[in-house]
């Protein structure tokens, strides 16, 4: 699982430009299970279907990551950018970024009178170019950069870029690897454009029309020095979401997830995320409404160049989802 996560997290996949990560995921899927029907839809969602009877369940993990979009190149070859997804200028300053073609850049800032003035429009990417032409050739306007890849471990902890949400993608792959046969159909969806408004999940749910859905994503923690209040910690188990800004969990789906965790002795936490949303936000409002739940992997420093998770939470998230899918009352109790 760790190796899979290492490969996925270091892949390039900004929102709207998910080609590389999709290719990587397609390879992983093909190696795992020959019986999966794999396709890409009009928006770029990668859908792997495990056939079954008329009941359908959708599992979603977004494969896109936050990025920077080049908007302007000046005479000296400095690149101005627009954020793709939620960026904090304080976390960008000094970060190393990489473009699809492998060009590296670092982020500098204008001279500021006041530290409070540090806004995104005071920042620029320096790729080392010495002219506009050189910059344009390597990173034309409209190209995107993501945080530079790295992957390291310390005990059970993993540090990397884009664990949001390659961790969720890894959980889905692990479920495919371990799930015993079930009667119903499962659509594993690696969604696009979650970071810019839960967009891929919306169209995927519309076309697949599931009876039940579960999204897997990351969530914040409150376990760092002077952190804002949040009763989620690394290493205490996957979090079962109660609420975020986009979504209030279906009471029965949430209860089923909790029941599963308790009966299988899987540690879990309950998550109330006061900011942010997940794919579940658009999935549950699709068509006549879809009962939906969320399993979250506790993650520190989300949307920074170095996010940290605990490997045990990742494993337990996969275990929880796998056990949940085998629950005998899955559809009848909704």
């Amino acid at each position: 699982m760790k190796d899979t996560l290492a490969r996925l997290s270091q892949s390039f996949g900004p929102s709207g430009r998910e080609e590389e990560i999709r290719t990587q995921l397609t390879k992983e899927l093909a190696a795992l299970d020959k019986n999966l029907a794999i396709r890409t839809d009009a928006l770029g969602n990668l859908i792997a279907t495990k056939p079954g009877d008329e009941k359908r369940l959708l599992l979603a993990a977004h494969m896109d990551e936050i990025a920077l979009l080049v908007t302007h190149i000046d005479d000296l070859g400095f690149l101005r950018f627009s954020p793709v997804g939620g960026h904090d200028p304080r976390l960008l300053l000094g970060a190393r970024v990489i473009f699809a073609n492998g060009t590296m850049g670092t982020i500098g800032r204008e001279e500021l009178k006041d530290k409070e003035d540090l806004k995104l429009d005071k920042l620029f990417i320096d790729i080392g170019a010495s002219s506009r032409a050189e910059a344009e050739e390597n990173c034309p306007i409209g190209s995107m950069a993501v945080f530079a890849p790295h992957f390291s471990t310390q005990g059970s902890r993993i540090m990397a870029k884009a664990l949001d949400n390659r961790a969720g993608c890894t959980v889905l792959l692990e479920v495919i690897r371990n799930l015993p046969p079930v009667d119903y159909q499962i659509d594993f969806v690696f969604t696009v454009q979650e970071e810019v408004g839960l967009r891929g999940a919306r169209t995927a749910a519309y076309q697949l029309q599931p009876h039940l859905a579960v999204a897997v994503d990351v969530t914040r923690t409150g376990d760092t020095p002077e952190a804002p209040v949040m009763a989620v910690e690394l290493g205490k188990g996957p979090a079962i979401k109660v609420k975020d800004r986009s979504f209030i969990s279906h009471p029965r789906v949430k209860d089923l997830l909790e029941e599963t965790a308790r009966s299988q002795d899987i540690p879990y936490q309950l998550e109330i995320l006061e900011r942010g949303g997940t794919d579940a936000g658009s999935i549950h409002l699709t068509r006549e409404g879809i009962p939906t739940g969320v399993i979250s992997i506790p993650t520190r420093y989300i949307h920074s160049p170095a996010e940290i998770i605990d490997y045990r939470d990742l494993k337990n998230a996969a275990l929880l989802l796998c056990s949940f899918l085998q629950h005998k009352d899955l559809f009848s109790s909704l």
Binding site: V229, H284, G289
Partner: protein, 378 residues
């Protein structure tokens, strides 16, 4: 009063004249409003209020059920030959509230708002915590004597508020109050002068009461339209129940019943509507002009007072979601003027409530297939 009618008795009622119900019967819906106001139903956890409503609506309609997201959908069939215009009435049944986010050492509960609750009005409130079994609590505040200079002039920030249940051990509460437990304000409905009532969650249990009142009126009237009354979920967190129920029903037209701001000191005349002067008919891009006109003319015909609420923006009601469901649904908005929105003393007029039910029933009575066809001809 609604609950005690059987269908047979309603038919007898239909023999009476319905025109002079205005003065003597404005208290008719007080008991229902009281019951609905007191029920718990914070956005996303509406099971209790839905259960109560199912019982209320059951004798008034042909069928009533909950959909996959929990919306209560009551269907009363139209009479006469096909086709039957399909009209959706929507009133959200969820209420704003609080959600427990953390249990502190010493037994205090931290919370986050669900919906746009006015945090400044929370200190001093009694609350009900809907954990494994209901638990009482209070939201306290540091006494004036102990406040730092200047502290008294400011509202307490939301993340410094907490609930006191009397329990002193974190472990005890952890068993009874799982994180994510909903909390509602404890408040009895008060009858004020001039048929005004004050209480919690009148936004929008008053609208739901109008829905029931409309069905009650319809039992005495002949109508060709198939009527779908929907008590929607999760309006306060983003008009979510309306989005999926309107998709599912695909009605020909919809009327949303919600509340608008009442007149009160400190609020400009054009921002607050007087109480007791009838419902406010929404007018703006989110409202189909012909539905507005027809509602207005119906009100004039049957002598229901009304006001006009022009709004350039969708004003955050279910109408916003319904109008753009599927291929688009002609939608109207009817609002009850209400003072002190999103506090525990929301105040409105029972007269307005009753009159709105009457207006909607008369509007539905007049719905013919030709009118529905005309809605797409501008």
């Amino acid at each position: 009063m609604l609950g005690i009618f059987s269908r047979g008795q309603q038919k007898l009622k239909g023999m009476e004249k319905t025109t002079n119900t205005k003065e003597d019967k404005s208290l008719e819906y007080l008991d229902l409003l009281r019951r609905l106001s007191q029920e718990q139903g914070v956005s996303g956890r509406e099971a209790k209020v839905a259960e109560s409503l199912l019982k209320t609506l059951h004798p008034l309609v042909d069928e009533v059920e909950r959909d996959r997201l929990g919306n209560v959908i009551a269907h009363k069939k139209g009479e006469g030959p096909d086709p039957h215009p399909r009209v959706m009435l929507a009133a959200h049944m969820d209420e704003i509230g609080l959600m427990v986010t953390q249990i502190l050492e010493g037994g205090f509960l931290r919370f986050t708002p669900v919906g746009g609750i006015d945090l400044r009005t929370l200190p001093g409130q009694e609350v009900l915590i809907h954990g494994l079994s209901p638990l009482r609590g209070v939201i306290g505040a540091k006494p004036p004597h102990l406040q730092e200079p200047g502290e008294r002039k400011k509202a307490i920030p939301g993340d410094e508020l907490y609930i006191d249940t009397g329990y002193s051990k974190k472990e005890e509460l952890e068993e009874m109050v799982p994180l994510g437990t909903m909390v509602t304000i404890e408040r009895d409905l008060q009858l004020l002068a001039n048929d005004l009532v004050a209480g919690k969650a009148l936004d929008n249990r008053a609208g739901v009461t109008v829905l029931a009142a409309c069905f009650q009126e319809l039992t005495r009237l002949k109508h060709r339209a198939d009527v779908y009354g929907v008590a929607t979920v999760q309006e306060e967190v983003g008009v979510r129940g309306a989005m999926v129920s309107s998709y599912g029903l695909a009605p020909d037209l919809a009327v949303v019943i919600d509340v608008c701001h009442g007149d009160m000191p400190g609020v400009a005349e054009d921002e607050g509507f007087p109480l007791g002067k009838g419902p406010a008919l929404g007018l703006g891009p989110h409202v189909h002009p012909r539905l507005f006109t027809t509602l207005k003319e119906t009100a004039q015909e049957i002598g229901v007072p009304y006001q006009v609420e022009p709004s350039p923006t969708p004003a955050g009601t279910d109408a916003w979601a319904i109008q753009i469901a599927r291929e688009g649904i002609p939608t109207a908005l009817v609002s009850l003027p209400l003072r002190y929105m999103h506090t525990a003393v929301e105040t409105l007029s029972l007269k307005d409530l009753k009159e709105t039910g009457r207006l909607l029933a008369a509007f539905i009575q007049g719905l013919e297939p030709a009118f529905v066809e005309g809605l797409s001809c501008y």
